[in-house]
């Protein structure tokens, strides 16, 4: 039971990080119906920027709290900037192109960004120094949940609440919902589709960057390749919950996190990454619309 509880908690921490990445996926998919393959790369770039800025400040001997704040801000800024630029270059010219072309363009972008980091930084795994603070009050239950996991849970919850509020109650949120329901109709009632898409990319990339910093602090290492696998897993989570639905993405991420953590704990750790893929194949065979998704009828 003890072991089970530990696995469940670490699964929850993992799931909440997947949720941060899956949110970006599901938002972009909801609006332009595109699997943004390069989303995972944005998350990796966010984490790299945090490491670069954090490293610079650390060698300058700055207070850890300041390092944390500044590097997070830098990571969020750069991830948002990359997301925005990527959308302008690779997706905007293809707005009227067939969906397959946009998907191939996304794969190309993912390849490009991954290799950009590989060539300009390093191909080795770098250890990621944790800038997150240690909480003393968690000491008695440290066996179950450590400070990093605790912070992950708190930050993920805050981001999710903020995002839900943004989508439910602000004007841009309303525009986003309208765009995802019917793009042409939204355009007819005076919504600027391009700026809605840009904002979606910015928000999605910024949440991904936060997820990137958290997961790297949790795992303690970083590499140019982390974005790809995490991106695929987050996508699985988004599909599992029903792509296009925000609560679905969160739910799917937790289910994925628990499955992975219980699967590695009880079955085999060699196949850690394949659980996500097996779930994906199963869900798409049984219920392609996901847990909370609506069934979409194909129109002529």
């Amino acid at each position: 039971m003890d072991y089970f509880l530990k696995l469940l908690l670490s699964g929850t921490a993992k799931g909440s990080i997947y949720a941060l990445i899956a949110l970006g996926y599901t938002m972009v998919y909801g609006i332009i119906k595109l699997i943004n393959f390069a989303h995972g790369e944005i998350y990796m770039i966010g984490a790299f920027v945090a490491l670069l800025v954090g490293g610079t400040l650390q060698s300058a001997g700055v207070n850890p709290a300041v390092i944390l704040v500044v590097s997070t801000l830098a990571a969020v800024f750069f991830a948002a900037a990359y997301g925005l630029t990527m959308e302008k270059i690779a997706y905007k010219p293809l707005r009227t192109a067939p969906r397959l072309s946009v998907l191939i363009s996304a794969i190309g972008m993912s390849m490009f960004l991954q290799n950009l980091v590989l060539l300009s930084q390093t191909e080795k795994y770098l250890s990621f120094p944790s800038f997150l603070p240690e909480f003393l009050f968690l000491k008695p239950i440290r066996g179950y949940i450590n400070s990093t996991q605790f912070i992950i849970l708190i930050i993920t919850s805050i981001v999710m609440v903020l995002l839900t509020l943004l989508i439910k109650f602000t004007l841009i949120g309303k525009a986003m919902r309208a765009t995802s329901q019917d793009r042409e109709m939204a355009q007819l009632v005076g919504i600027n589709i391009n700026s809605v898409i840009t904002v979606t990319f910015i928000i999605g990339s910024a949440t991904a960057a936060i997820g990137g910093i958290l997961i790297c602090s949790y795992m303690g290492q970083i590499n140019y390749y982390i974005g790809f696998i995490a991106g695929i897993k987050a996508f699985v989570a988004a599909v599992l919950g029903g792509i296009g639905s925000i609560p679905g993405a969160v739910l799917g991420s937790f289910v994925l996190g628990w499955t992975e953590s219980l699967g590695t704990g009880y079955i085999s750790s060699d196949y850690e990454d394949s659980f996500a893929f097996i779930i994906l194949i199963l869900i798409l065979t049984v219920k392609p619309s996901g847990i909370l998704g609506r069934k979409e009828n194909q129109k002529v």
Binding site: I107, N115, V236, S274, Q298
Partner: protein
């Protein structure tokens, strides 16, 4: 060129110069190394000159090409020149025949006048032509984005590898040359790939577009993980080595001669694939695939069985990859899971997309570019994935059909053609 707006160009390029300098600063100028828990950042200030200059130029080029793409009348003129070019060179039967025959002749005598290294490089390019042609059936004709092609390549290679690993001793004991195993593995690899193709089709047949892409990707990754982790059966990460080369009349051949021999086997298979795919393209089923690619619902209402057609496309594509896998294993004599990653699948995708989706000559050109360019330009090899990634994006924007666009067959009544000619004469 009278309405060429210098000011706007300068302004835009200047803004993107600043923007990209900011964007690429942490990635290109800063470089991080972590030693003993302490991060150490070094700076490469040289890039601070390179980035703005190249951003300035590239942004101006980008703007120019985008505008040219959107501009109407100038494009028409270029279209006419392109059409003239196409009529005189590509659609001209004599030119076509001469170029095909000379290409076949050059390829047929290639190993005679080139060294062993060049022959081996060309063998791998030919194997990739086969892979590309296989994916071309699924993607180019069927319109299904398949990101797990390397998995079937692996199935073929491992069919041969495992067959040798477990049955090789038997052949040695019985006094039969192990070279014979290649000829048994060749059809077996194709059949195994077909079996796996059916397995993958079960979940895939109901899916479309992006879901299909992600499921095939997942399948490819699961396959690789199984090969990597099921160590006591597949040899794990170390793979299988000393796979025998094909049998050649019992002669104990030198590696050079073996390479030539394999070259001709692969070459024959490429020729067979080209003929088969071009025949398929114009057959009933090929046209059904193309209809399926354009519109599934319309296709169904015309009485085309979607499930059956998707299944055949998938299985045929897989069989090609499987056979290519056996050839690959016999060429390298050593296989491990690293040769069959998701990036291999994406490289095959690049071959098809860059060369020309659906066009056979395009796929051949694509495979030659993607395999030979990094091989002969060593300085470029490091950057190949970066460049191919960018090329995918740019290709989709500026030339979605690929380098050699597939020419659609158009049936015309003779009367129409005369009318067209008359109309052209009036213009």
């Amino acid at each position: 060129m009278e309405d060429f707006n210098w000011k706007e160009y300068l302004k835009d390029s200047f803004i993107s110069m600043l923007w990209f300098s900011l964007l690429l600063f942490p990635m290109l100028v800063m470089k991080i190394t972590v030693k003993g828990g302490m991060a150490d950042v070094t700076y490469r200030w040289g890039y601070l000159v390179v980035i703005p200059v190249s951003a300035f130029i590239l942004s101006a080029l980008w703007k120019y090409f985008r505008e040219r793409q959107q501009g109407g009348d100038k494009a028409d003129k270029r279209g006419e020149i392109a059409a003239l070019f196409r009529r005189t060179f590509i659609e001209n039967r004599t030119v076509k025949k001469v170029s095909i025959i000379s290409a076949i002749l050059i390829m047929a005598f290639y190993p005679v006048f080139s060294g062993m290294y060049n022959t081996n490089v060309m063998i791998s390019a030919l194997i990739y032509i086969m892979l590309g042609l296989g994916l071309n059936i699924v993607l180019g004709l069927g319109g299904m984005l398949h990101l797990g092609h390397a998995a079937f390549f692996a199935v073929g290679a491992y069919t041969y590898g495992l067959f040798f690993k477990y049955a090789g001793q038997f052949f040695v004991d019985a006094g039969i040359s192990t070279g014979w195993m290649f000829w048994i593995a060749l059809p077996a690899g194709g059949i195994m790939a077909a079996v796996f193709g059916v397995l993958l089709s079960l979940p895939v047949l109901r899916l479309r577009g992006d879901y299909l892409a992600i499921v095939t990707l997942a399948f490819g990754e699961i396959m690789r993980m199984v090969l990597q982790n099921w160590g006591n059966v597949t040899g794990g990460a170390t793979g299988i080595s000393l796979i025998p080369r094909p049998w050649l009349f019992g002669i104990n051949v030198t590696p050079r001669l073996a390479a030539v021999y394999i070259y001709y086997i692969v070459f024959a298979f490429v020729i067979i694939s080209i003929i088969t795919v071009s025949r398929l393209e114009n057959s009933r089923i090929g046209r059904a695939w193309e209809a399926m690619r354009e519109d599934e619902i319309a296709c169904q209402s015309m009485g085309i069985d979607l499930v059956r057609n998707k299944l055949t496309a998938f299985i045929l594509g897989s069989v090609w990859a499987g056979v290519a896998g056996v050839l690959f294993a016999s060429q390298t004599t050593y296989i491990n899971p690293d040769s069959f990653t998701i990036w291999e699948s994406i490289l095959i995708l690049c071959i098809v997309v860059l060369g020309g989706t659906g066009s056979i000559s395009g796929v051949i050109l694509g495979a030659l570019i993607i395999k030979l360019l990094p091989e002969y330009m060593r300085a470029f090899a490091q950057y190949r994935l970066l460049v191919f990634g960018l090329a995918l994006v740019l290709m989709m924007i500026f030339r979605p059909g690929g380098i050699i666009k597939k020419v659609r067959k158009i049936y015309r009544f003779p009367l129409d053609e005369e009318n067209d000619a008359a109309a052209e004469g009036q213009n």
